[in-house]
């Protein structure tokens, strides 16, 4: 706890709030690369700050971060394994029809949705 006790948690929180503001304001420029960097890039930075300074993952035995990374790798394996079914339009003994891309409009799309905001 000695190292933890020197951490200024309020400063970390303030930094997280500033990053939140940037992640909301950045995409308003409507430039794709800025949106990706500010919305998603900053999400990784915020997650890192929370994991390091709030969860103190760097102070746990080394196998804990390895365990977390292993879980992430398994999750990525799931994504990579199923991605072809989502992205490819045809494969062995299967082919997607036009219906696959069709998204039925929600009732609000027929009127009233504009009032939402």
């Amino acid at each position: 706890m000695s190292e933890e006790s020197h951490t200024n948690y309020v400063k970390i929180w303030a930094l997280l709030v500033v990053l939140l503001a940037v992640s909301v304001l950045g995409p308003m420029l409507e430039i794709q690369i800025i949106t990706l960097l500010t919305a998603f890039g900053i999400a990784f930075v915020k997650a890192y700050l929370v994991a390091k300074y709030f969860m103190h993952i760097n102070m746990t035995p080394r196998f804990v971060p390895y365990l977390m990374v292993t879980c992430l790798v398994f999750m990525l394996l799931f994504v990579v394994g199923t991605a072809p079914d989502v992205y490819k339009s045809e494969g062995t003994n299967w082919k997607k029809t036009a219906e696959w891309q069709y998204m039925p409009p929600s009732p609000a799309d027929h009127g009233g949705a504009a009032e939402h905001h």
Binding site: L20, L67, F78, A108, H116
Partner: protein, 189 residues
Amino acid sequence: MKPIATTRSTSGMPTGLLAIWWVVGSEIVIFGGLLGSYIMYRLSHDAWANQAANTNTALGTLNTFVLLTSSLFAVLAHRAAESGDGKKAARLLYYTIGGAVTFVCVKAFEWSTEIAHGYTITSNTFWSFYYTAAGIHALHVIAGAIIMAIVARDAAKNMELQRVELIGIYWHFVDIVWIFLFPLLYIAK
């Protein structure tokens, strides 16, 4: 006399701490799979962007702020528990629970507005993902708040103070999940 599992430390860390990290590890796979599926479908369906344009960014931002602030209270509660101040730890945990209640209230208002406008879980695949991902996350928030109330009750009597850190780690993970859900559901339009 404490149960053996509470005091045992065969892995170089208290068993309770090891257990909560196992919980976090399994939650990574649950939420990771959900978010991974969302990203894949979002990128392969142009129509999803139009649907995502109907989520309320202001309320999503407010809820992100609420969760970040509640995480601050949780880590301050951990610090208080480490210094043996159970009463202060309990008070800070109650502030964290306040954040959880605020989050759920904002979410309830947001969902009721969206449902009133016709965006329901059966509207189309985007809204199915939206309600499923945000709903599972909200259930974690509610569960965390309930467990935190039990931990705070004991902490106020200076009992089981090690649990303050454990519920804190869970809470910060719930915060991290929202940190990724927020740009996916509210920002990328």
